[in-house]
Structure formats: structure tokens, C-alpha cells
Amino acid sequence: MKKGEKVEKRKKGEKSRGEKSRGERGKEGKRGGEGGGGEREGVERKGGKGFGIFVTFCVLFLFWLLLSGIFDAFHVGAGVICSVIVALISHDLLVRERGEKVLLKSFRFVIYLGWELWQIALANFDVAYRVLHPRMPIDPLIIEFDTPLRSDFALVTLANSITLTPGTITISVEPERGRFLVHAISKKPADALTVEKTMQNKVADVFMVGGQEKGGEWKNDMAA
């Protein structure tokens, strides 16, 4: 029964992936032409390179100014030189994709962070309760589930969110299938991930994985 469910879920994931790639090829074909749908392919695109270097340089230089706090010619000049060198070497670490949706995504991400901070506070009260309760109400188990997320940043966000929220820690992630292995401290936080899927939905929403159809599909999952 469980195995059947898993297989079905995986199929759903693949299907939605296919849909996404088709959709993106139509919408964003002008950007690259490779299509393919994954944000991973953005690395190979030539057009985004100068933009990536520029953004990395700005971030690094701002960081330098904030950390040094001295604005004479020598310090600022040294900052510019260092930022340019580091930006040239490692721009592809910071900026991987370029598109119209980046701003919207960052905006949604900030809203998500607010919710996440609240969850972190809840997590700590939860752990404090379990630690200080005389009988220690814990019942650890390990769960596995698939997500439609594929981009590195989305996967890292979800993995870190799982670790920071009540009662669950990510053990490992398979980026190819978006599969998460999670250790939960009792049944209830495990259900929050496998049945309610609040967090996956929120992260998928932030990174706009699969668009609206996907959201509908997941709501059906929740109802079933």
C-alpha cells in the first residue's frame, strides 16, 4: 500500500515536471533557448554571466563597506579590487538564474521568512516542553517524502526550514528526485510534513514550482 502510494506520488512529480518544462519553454524561450525547465540549466546560459558578476560585485562591495565602516580612498579602493576579484572567480555561486521572476520570488521569500521565524519560536517551545516534561513525550521515527522542488536554493530552504521547525530534522536530500529523509521526534510533527504538507506548499509557492495546477493537485492530496 505504502509502496504503491509512493510510486504514484513519484509519477505525479514527474508529470508536473514535464508540464513545467513545457510551460517554461513557451514563456521564457527568449531568455535562453535551451528550455529544459530546470533552474540548474541557468548556469550554462551565457547571457546571465555579466549580470551575475555585477550582482555579486555589488553584494560583496556593500558587505565590505558595512564591515569596514571607513570611507577613505585606500579602504574603498582595496574593497573595490577585492570585490572584483572575488566576483570574477565566484559569481556563479551566488547568482545562478536570471529572470523577471527573481524580484517577485525574493519578495515572497521575505514573507516566508516571517512565517518561518514564528515556526522557529514554536519549535523551541516544543523542544523545551519535551525536554523539561518529567516523562519526556517522545516517540522518534524516520519518514520519507517526495517534493516537486529541484533547484538548489529551494531544496536548501526546505531542508533548513524542516530542521528549524518543531520536531523534525532533515537527514538527507536527493536533489534529482526532490526526496527528503527526515527524522521526527514524534508522530505529530511527522504528520505535519507527510499529511498536511504546509511547509512544502509554502516553499513550492515561494519558488513557484509548477504554478497553479500544482497547488490544486496538492490540495486534492490534502483532502484525500
Binding site: 558595512l66 564591515l67 569596514s68 565602516g69 571607513i70 570611507f71 522557529i120 519560536a121 519549535a123 523551541n124 523542544v127 523545551a128 519535551r130 525536554v131 523539561l132 519526556m136 517522545i138 516517540d139 522518534p140 521515527l141 524516520i142 536548501v156 531542508a159 533548513n160 530542521t163 528549524l164 520536531g167 530534522i169 532533515t170 537527514i171 538527507s172 529523509l181 527524522h183 521526534i185
Partner: protein, 117 residues
């Protein structure tokens, strides 16, 4: 004004210390490796962040807002803010690096009713 800020700072520091202490107690009380990581991975993150937030507020209102303060002094809260961001990024990452290492080594998770390890 300074009085209210000091009360808030003390509350933040106290909350931070409370969560760090809870993490330490959890480390001693919980039965196995994975559950102990639950205690340390979460409580330490919020504990440290609360303590730094307290220091940040204190520095901002006591030193940075003084007229004529040097720019490098004024920027200390920004550095503390960066510390908070990096702790939020690094702490969970380190937690699941350790967790994965334990899982790959074959450490068995504790089940209810078993002897503690």
C-alpha cells in the same frame, strides 16, 4: 527610554540563556544521538540569536545613537545582524551534516521502550 530598552534587553538575554540551558538539559536527558540533536540543533539556534539580538539592541540604543559616535561604532549592530543571518544558515546545515553522518554510519534510531544509549 533607556530604562525600557534595558528591560527588553534583559528579557531577550534571559530568554536566550533559558533556551541554551534547555538545550543542554535535553542533551543530557534525551535517549539517543538523533533526539539529542533535536535539542541542541534547535535550542542553540534560537538561544544564540536571542542573546545576539539583546546585545544588538543594547549597542544600538546605548552607543550607536549617541550623537557624534564614530561610523565604525555605529555599524556594530549591522555586524551583529550578519551574525544572526549566518547562524540561521549555518546551524541547521551543520545539524543535518552531523545527522547524515550518523545515519550513514548506521546509527540505529531509538524507539519507545528501548534502553537509553
Amino acid at each position: 527610554m533607556i530604562g525600557i530598552i534595558e528591560i527588553i534587553v534583559v528579557i531577550l538575554l534571559a530568554a536566550g540563556v533559558f533556551f541554551m540551558l534547555t538545550g543542554a538539559i535535553g542533551l543530557l536527558r534525551f535517549p539517543d544521538f538523533y533526539t539529542r540533536l533535536h535539542a541542541t540543533g534547535k535550542c542553540d539556534t534560537l538561544g544564540e540569536v536571542l542573546i545576539i539580538a539583546g546585545l544588538l539592541l543594547h549597542h544600538f540604543f546605548v552607543y550607536s545613537s549617541v550623537p557624534g559616535a564614530e561610523l565604525s561604532v555605529k555599524l556594530v549592530p549591522v555586524k551583529l545582524l550578519f551574525l544572526i543571518v549566518f547562524i540561521f544558515l549555518a546551524n541547521p546545515t551543520a545539524t543535518h551534516a552531523i545527522m547524515k553522518a550518523a545515519y550513514n554510519t548506521g546509527e540505529k534510531p531509538w524507539k519507545v521502550g528501548e534502553e537509553r544509549k
